[in-house]
């Protein structure tokens, strides 16, 4: 069990607690998107496949997908985002979390980046 955030190349973060994976987007990603005005959330109970765009973030100028870093069942969504999508801009790593996915077995997150590795990765973006 780890409290540390891990990052994907698509700029999502994940927080692993047992077999539950909480997912959000990085500070870099929210800044790139600009003012987020609508979050098209999945439903609790939906099955998502690794690599699938399971949620859409709408800023004024564009829509961006959030990709699932793991396969599993959506067990929680951040319902506050329905009325306050700006939470993702204001608190991307905390209050702006998006979903929790329950995986079968142990989450396979070995190829995700640590915070330091992600910071290095951003230098090349």
């Amino acid at each position: 069990m780890s409290e540390k955030l891990l990052y994907t190349k698509e700029h999502e973060w994940v927080l692993v607690k047992g077999n539950i994976v909480r997912i959000g987007i990085s500070d870099y990603a929210q800044n790139e998107l600009g003012d987020i005005v609508f979050v098209d959330l999945p439903s609790v109970g939906d099955w998502v496949e690794e690599g699938e765009g399971f949620c859409a973030l709408e800023s004024v100028k564009a829509v961006s997908d959030v990709y699932a870093p793991v396969s599993g069942k959506v067990v929680a969504v951040n319902e506050e985002l329905e009325d306050s999508p700006e939470l993702i801009n204001e608190s991307p790593l905390d209050k702006g979390w998006i979903v929790e996915i329950e995986v079968e077995g142990t989450p396979q997150v070995g190829d995700l980046m640590s915070e330091q590795e992600y910071a290095e990765y951003l230098k090349g973006v």
Binding site: D35, D40, K61, A62
Partner: protein
């Protein structure tokens, strides 16, 4: 990528730069929504140097313009401007442009992405005794838009704009050089567009920012330019109109004068007599979700009737809005339709007129 004489200024202001029509342009400075609302409540300045400008002179200039454009340029007095379309033989829109009647002839202001195409088309269709010159690389274009734009322009250029009506222009001097100031814009607000030689670009840009401080001026990028024009229901070339749509389908009939000859007139006359098959409509969302270009439009029964051409979350209304073509029998204001947003169908309602009151 081409730059404008203001590129260094945009970078210094921390703008996010993008490639737009081959130009490195600012898409936003501090934030799209903030910039948008500044134009609605105070004043914003825009670098629009990527737009193209052509001069037409000589005794054949009027005949050339009138044979290529849908609007009637013979109605223009010196100092007046009209919105017009260049059309092809099928009545499709090659570009939507502004036509300025000058002492020497005409100044045509065209969309950046169409500059080369338009120039070739006009050159190919010049009437005898007509000179065509491309001034795009010599002129800087700054727009000053918003309810506080008039006092700011008056202060910076030491002029009075009290008698400058919409769609007219004046040619004041700046440091002994004649510049062109028109009361035009693409935001739905009162505003001005200023054309002048590149050498004054940085100092005039700075002057508008400095003098504008007390009016709350902000530089505004192309992102907010798009949301501002969409709220004002102004079409964007490449999104809402192109060579496969006609001015009549796009609701631009009042800029089409069928009593004179021009390329595509016969097709448009026939279309007017028979009625269009589809129409560009504006709609506001009833259900949640933001319409985007290319999303299908459907009836409430699920029959596909067209597609979204522009869509956004309106910053002024804090509500999603869009435009798109639908079958003509479904184009009546008040009609409810559906937008397919990813896997979901979301209801929308066709509205009359602009999105803003």
């Amino acid at each position: 990528m081409k730059q404008t004489p203001l590129t260094a200024k945009h970078r210094a202001l921390g703008a996010k730069m993008i490639d737009y029509a081959g130009f490195e342009m600012p898409v936003q400075y501090t934030g799209l929504v903030e910039e948008h609302l500044t134009v609605r409540s105070a004043v914003g300045i825009f670098d629009l140097t990527h737009m193209g400008e052509f001069e037409l002179a000589g005794s054949g200039a009027l005949a050339t313009v009138n044979s290529l454009c849908t609007n009637d340029a013979s109605q223009l007095q010196v100092g007046e401007i009209q919105y017009s379309c260049l059309t092809n033989e099928r009545g499709g829109i090659i570009d939507d442009i502004l036509v300025y009647r000058t002492e020497q002839g005409f100044l045509l202001v065209v969309n950046a992405a169409n500059t080369a195409k338009d120039y070739a088309w006009i050159e190919q269709n010049l009437k005898p005794d007509t000179q065509l010159a491309d001034r795009s690389n010599e002129l800087t274009l700054i727009a000053i838009q918003g309810p506080k734009s008039a006092p700011l322009v008056e202060e910076v250029l030491s002029v009075s704009v009290a008698d400058l009506k919409n769609y007219t222009f004046m040619e004041p001097e700046y440091k002994g050089v004649q510049v062109l100031l028109s009361r035009t814009g693409y935001t739905g607000e009162d505003g001005f567009e200023l054309y002048f030689p590149n050498e004054f670009a940085e100092e005039l840009w700075d002057a508008f920012l400095t003098h504008g401080e007390k009016y709350g001026v902000k530089p505004v990028g192309l992102g907010a330019r798009d949301t501002l024009r969409l709220e004002a229901r102004m079409p964007l070339y490449g999104n809402d109109i192109d060579e496969h749509t006609t001015p009549l389908e796009a609701g631009l009939g009042r800029f089409v004068k069928l009593h004179k000859e021009f390329v595509g007139r016969d097709v448009l006359l026939k279309q007017k007599e028979e009625g269009v098959q589809r129409k560009l409509v504006a709609f506001t969302m009833i259900d949640k979700g933001i319409p985007r270009q290319g999303y299908p439009l459907l009836t409430l029964d699920g029959e596909e009737i067209g597609a979204v051409t522009s869509g956004t979350h309106s910053p002024s209304l804090d509500h999603p809005i869009g435009m798109g073509y639908v079958r003509v029998d479904l184009a009546q204001p008040g009609t409810e339709i559906q937008v397919q947003i990813r896997k979901k169908l979301a209801k929308a309602k066709i509205i009359k007129g602009r999105f803003l009151a």
